[in-house]
Amino acid sequence: MATAPRFQFTEGTPQYRTYKLIGYGILLLLVLVVAFAYNDTGSITLFDNDYKVSITRVTKAISFIIAILGLQVVAGFTGQLSLGQGFFFGVGAYLSAWLVSDHNWPWLLTLVVIIPTCFIFGMAFGIPALRIKGLYLALVTLGLAAILPSLILLDKLEPYTAGAAGKQTDSDLVPPGWLPLDGIVDALHKLPLVGSYFGDGDGLSSREEQRVWTFFIMTIVAVVCFKMVGNLIKSRPGRAIRAVRDNETSAAVNGIGLAYHKTMSFGVASALGGVGGMVYVAELGIASPGDFTQLLSILFIVGLVVGGVGTLSGAVIGGLVIAFVPDWASSTQNFPGVPERWLQGPTGGLILGLMLIVLTFVLPGGIVAGVRRLRARFVRVNPARPPLLTTGDPTTNALADSATVDAASVND
């Protein structure tokens, strides 16, 4: 058995709050660094390979992250394997593209339409889940994902979806004039030591400014989504869906309506898929049918599993992985110890596939599980002990009356 972790915190204490604050501070710092350091297409060089890192790709990752967050709700927490997330991603993407380019709606306002639409579609879609389980449900949902590209290409819908050419949007998210993004990047550039990483000192072009601004907005959208799902999980309905996942019979016996919770969970997941689609189009500027095939749904599942099923942070990692790793894998042309000719040509799929296989064996709970195991060596968070019910409590209920006798005598 390993020795006790170096740092121990109890929830609710000032030390714990400081620990949390440091964690969030680091995250915020990361966001700012990404925004200002990689606003132009940057790259990391490792073993003579150029790994592209650009803010546009990070924004794309955010769209995947939100979609995978939805999958966490339905597959990770409710235990319903849905391969249809790509469908809702596509619906969200096309709805927002249509509203923005044909009706001049601002991007964020399209969520008002996307969320209810995807939610209702998703709930309807959850109905098969009431009858079928496991692989069969996966198959049915995969069918839905397969329908979307052909749906987009329908003649009747072509005026709205622009068919095979893809729906262009020329509206960008323009940062407000009062926000000195240009000044910030200049100030960062003047920093000693690290300054040279922040741009080339000529400020931001309006295109770059828009990229940074889009990234910020979408980060906020993602944070709101995460906060909401986090709230959901730590609440009555959240426990209910996890109970449904773990044991349906005992969930029903304890008064949890299986049908209601499954369909609602599908609804929430699908709405998140739609939000992800909006982010995707807002970043890319075009929605084309080839982007929303079954492959996308499978990719989301890959992200879900690689990140860690049933964890919120797993969605972040999963989204980043599916946005970057396939591309990075194909940019890997040299690796120490591996003959160069092995890595020539289309090896991207090979590397990605090998990585998935190895990861499944090495870290069965996903990357998050590995990180948590590592962290547990250094930090342990002890949950705060809730108070016991006491007689003095005005909210005392029938249950409390009986519990109090023991509680009082033992506690004081």
Binding site: R236, R239, D246, A252, V253, G255, L388
Partner: protein
């Protein structure tokens, strides 16, 4: 009027008759033991009351309400909670979350309010307090934040009991609570059962093989054999009933 009225219940699985013509009442505040040899239909009866199985015939009334018209997930709302023979906890949730989820029918947050954080914290705090108090009551506070997976069997049984208690049941159904417990744990269990009955104002229906436990705490015992009721009455009466002796020990060879 009795709290639970079981009237002429029959359950068939294909050609097999699991229960037939079963009639008994449970009075309010009573501990009723349901016993019988293996395969007598005890657990089937439990599953009928918790609406996992539909009876082919008969009626079931719970404080004047027709249970057979109540959907399964409304049974808990009506005030009937149960434990399972082979444990049905939610292994990937912590112990205290298991218990808090047991209060599902008594708490109010829904998907909308929970996501928007309306009243969520207050309810969470209240539920955590109640759950922790019950765990404390059952001597489980030291495992409150553990995952269920990996805890000893006896502990898990008590967690299941705690999960029922937080729902404030009127009728608590215990399916073989003594299985897998050691001798001293069984003694403790009978104290726990009578204790919670008095403290939480419960009516208890108990299925159990451990005769010492059933005879020690039951006020009424119903004996099943091959899906039929063969005896009912006070523990002492039942013990001397020749039909019961025969069901358990067989007929003496003559």
């Amino acid at each position: 009027m009795a709290l639970l009225e079981v009237n002429d219940i029959e359950v068939r699985f294909g050609g097999i008759v699991a229960l037939s013509g079963l009639t008994f009442d449970i009075e309010e505040g009573q501990i009723c033991g349901l016993i019988g040899p293996n395969g007598a239909g005890k657990t089937t009866m439990f599953n009928v009351i918790s609406r996992i199985y539909d009876p082919t015939h008969g009626t079931l009334n719970f404080s004047g309400r027709n249970l057979l018209k109540t959907p399964p997930h409304q049974i808990a709302k009506a005030g009937i909670f149960r434990t399972f023979q082979n444990l049905a906890l939610w292994p990937r949730m912590s112990v205290i979350e298991n218990v808090m989820a047991g209060a599902h029918v008594r708490s109010k947050e829904n998907f909308g309010t929970a996501m928007l954080n309306i009243g969520r914290k207050k309810e969470e705090k209240q539920l955590a307090t109640e759950a922790f108090s019950i765990l404390h009551d059952l001597g489980l506070e030291h495992v409150a934040f553990n995952q269920c997976a990996g805890l000893p069997y006896g502990t898990l049984k008590r967690i299941e009991l705690a999960r029922c208690l937080i729902g404030r049941p009127k009728l608590l159904m215990l399916d073989e609570p003594a299985t897998g417990l050691t001798h001293s744990e069984v003694d403790l269990l009978s104290e726990v059962i009578t204790g919670i009955r008095d403290r939480y104002d419960l009516t208890i229906l108990l299925v159990e093989h451990h005769m010492g436990l059933v005879m020690g705490i039951s006020e009424n015992v119903v004996v099943l054999d091959f899906g039929r009721k063969i005896a009912e009455g006070l523990p002492v009466e039942v013990q001397e009933n020749p039909a019961v002796v025969e069901a358990y020990l067989g007929v003496p060879a003559s």
